[in-house]
Symmetry: none
Subunit: 249 residues, 2 copies
DNA sequence: CGAACTTCTGCGTTTTTGTGCAGGAATTTC
DNA sequence: GAAATTCCTGCACAAAAACGCAGAAGTTCG
């Protein structure tokens, strides 16, 4: 078994069960504990997992992580949210992924807006629920605990049944060459389905994540209609995207 | 169980109930009191909880004492929750409705329990999500904002696809003659589907709601396998139900 | 082709960490 | 004020991590 392959397996296990024991891993893939430990060390250095005595945990465990960068990029995300809500008008069917940027958008929805929001993200749904005038459709299936979103074939099938006017994707990584990429296999499947089910695809991303790449590909740049960051539309950092035919706001 | 995992559990419990007893924690997660005490010490050093003699308190508990009414019925619901979780064992498929009693049950689930929980209630799902070992299946469809639960034909169709070992119904009204009744048409449809999809139906109800009736009928007494209230099982108020063949706990 | 080099992996050994236990001190409670 | 908890300290044992080393496998480069 190759190193990368092994690490992918470990990552998958962590994302699935929220925790993993080094002892069980080393019997699983039949390598020494040292190897596992080194793998966990690397994954931890890359910020993929949280290493603890005896194994590793998924990020969903330490909520400290959330609050720390939460305040920091909050302002940037508010700017993005403002730009994003401008695209929504009455009567629209809106498909959204999860992620903190999407949450921020949900909070910025004008109260008189009448639209239908469809999502499998629990935190997003919570926000939509408090809105007086929007209709909320929840995509059901198994819940992935660390991404707090429903994943699985049922969820994908349901998404494929809709044809939304617009789709907002919270983005982990976007790059001109590699397009949108992510690190959770199941979430990627979901995002792909959402893109296919929408007339227009809008990608929300803080500048920090622009020009970064993650292991798993969601879609190419050509499938994105619009990219929203906290930067002004004519920022030089975004020029490659404009050149590639993506609207930038 | 890993140290961080344990501390996350403790923290969750503290934030949930605003207090926690070291004695109950150590039976919960099956470690010595010393370990618990050391964990509380660490969490206290990090400022996550306030350590007191016999356990720990949440930070928010400091000055604002919550409304007495909330705590009052809260205690009754805790008793019900305790009785209810006793019915769940490893590997079970559990179907639950929404309601505050169900939430209380969700919060009382022992952390080592491994089971699959299926629900369309957003608040309930939120609780299940924090549990380290249970699998969560979310029933999707349109969200009813006042009951915070998914309703509609899709949701009902999905529920009919499962055959759960046990079904817990938070109850608005129960009566020997009229059975379970409720006041929301769509929620009633959902509950009916849940009853049909379960081998065993358990009805959770505080004594206050026993012998009351609401406009819409969910099911008759004969379809209920068990009734759980905060009263002792041999309370005279519950005699009619025992006579009707309902197990009472 | 093959020598020098890097990377990966497993094996001891040493260090650190986590946990439980026993006692005595401190506290709550009645 | 006495009994019962609960807390703290030191200690012992076990589990896991870190470290250095060495062999194997793969790469680079002349």
């Amino acid at each position: 078994m190759l190193k990368k392959e092994r690490q992918a397996y470990i990552l998958h296990q962590v994302n699935l069960h929220n925790k993993v024991l080094s002892s069980s891993l080393c019997t699983d893939i039949n390598v020494s504990e040292d190897t596992i430990r080194r793998d966990l060390q690397e994954l931890s250095d890359e910020g993929k997992v949280i290493k603890v005595h005896g194994g590793a945990l998924s990020h969903s465990f330490n909520q400290v992580h959330f609050s720390s960068n939460g305040v920091y990029s909050q302002n940037q995300k508010k700017i993005i949210a403002q730009k994003a809500v401008g695209l929504i008008s009455n009567g629209m069917f809106v498909l959204t992924s999860g992620g903190t940027t999407i949450i921020e958008m949900a909070r910025s929805l004008p109260p008189q807006l009448r639209a239908t929001f469809i999502s499998g993200s629990i935190p997003a749904i919570l926000e939509y629920m408090y809105h007086p005038n929007i209709e909320v459709i929840l995509i059901g299936d198994r819940i992935s605990k660390n991404s707090k979103i429903t994943v699985g074939s049922e969820a994908i099938a349901k998404i494929k049944q809709v044809k939304a006017d617009i789709c907002f994707l919270g983005t982990n990584a976007i790059d001109v060459e590699h397009g949108i990429t992510d690190n959770d296999w199941e979430v990627v499947q979901l995002k792909r389905a959402m893109i296919e089910s929408s007339k227009m695809v809008v990608c929300l991303s803080i500048a920090e994540k622009v020009n970064s790449v993650q292991p798993i590909r969601v879609c190419g740049i050509d499938e994105i209609d619009m990219l929203i960051t906290e930067l002004p539309a004519d920022d030089s950092m975004l020029k490659p995207y404009r050149d590639a035919g993506v609207k930038v706001a």
